[in-house]
Amino acid sequence: MVLLRSVPPPTEGVRHEQGETTAVLDGKGLGTGTLYVAETRLSWFDGSGMGFSLEYPTISLHAISRDLSAYPQEHLYVMVNAKLNDEMQENAHDDEEDEDEEDDCEGITEIRFVPSDKAALESMFSAMCECQALHPDPDDEDSNGDFDGDEYDVEEAEAEHGQGDIPSFCTYEEGVSGLRAEGQATLQRLEGMLAQSVANTFHMAGVRTDETNGEFDDGVEVDAGSTVAGQFEDADIDH
């Protein structure tokens, strides 16, 4: 995420352009400028050409805020799954208590785009929805292919991740980062179980084989070499 640096506004694939839009970043007003909802990224620039860009994969959530009692103007609310760097971070900490920010809100930034034309909010929101759909997370796409040859046991995964009532991750931000570690740990365990009973199909699967091989050192005992061939080779296991 580029912050307040002089970069040219996008010229191609601009789904929506909204002038006279004030940007408020973690409570700090940045002035009035133009919001560009482009297919490649979300950008905002003030009159002098300074501005910032956001990559869609970093935008966790966006919404239209119309409740004037909560915020004095209708605006487009954007939650970025990243903490600002440089000068903006200091200001953000000034606005919030440091402890709360770091413990509970680790790594998020709130941005409000306040257009002078409130009627444009729906178009701004829709344009962002469309552009978000153009940037699916690459990890998600891999995970679809990862389970080729592996059985993704939903029940086991659910039992490991959290039993509903007792979530391991209480906060939204922790969950995002925590999922990867625990998700991988669960995957390692499943792979370990399968490796003992399934033949080479495990190793040939697209389950981030390079990473998982390295992660066997985490204590997951996997006898990659000792497979019981023939026992579960044809398994499309239906529980």
Binding site: S65, Q132, G149, V176
Partner: protein, 85 residues
């Protein structure tokens, strides 16, 4: 996933709302949202509708009594198996 639209869901233990729509990437549009912990997330109080990026969704809780969980699990397994091939 279309049959789920219109149901109340809880996303990642944080945001409760009515499922407006969802796409193949699990991008979720919620309407009439409420935040489970307004004190922790006061900035969301003024929002009624939102779009949540699918990649950051941790859990989606559906009303159990309105969902045929067995059917859902079977469908999910079938889809996973199909993607293997």
């Amino acid at each position: 996933m279309c049959p789920l639209c219109g149901w109340d869901v809880l996303v990642s233990y944080l945001i409760c709302g009515t499922l407006h729509s969802v796409d193949q990437y699990l991008n979720i549009k919620l309407t009439d949202i409420s935040v489970t912990d307004p004190e922790k997330y006061p900035h969301m109080l003024s929002v009624k509708n939102c779009f949540i990026r699918g990649s950051v969704v941790r859990y989606v809780q559906l009303p159990a009594d309105e969902v045929d969980t067995q059917l859902l699990q079977d469908a999910a397994r079938k889809e996973a198996l199909q993607q293997k091939q």
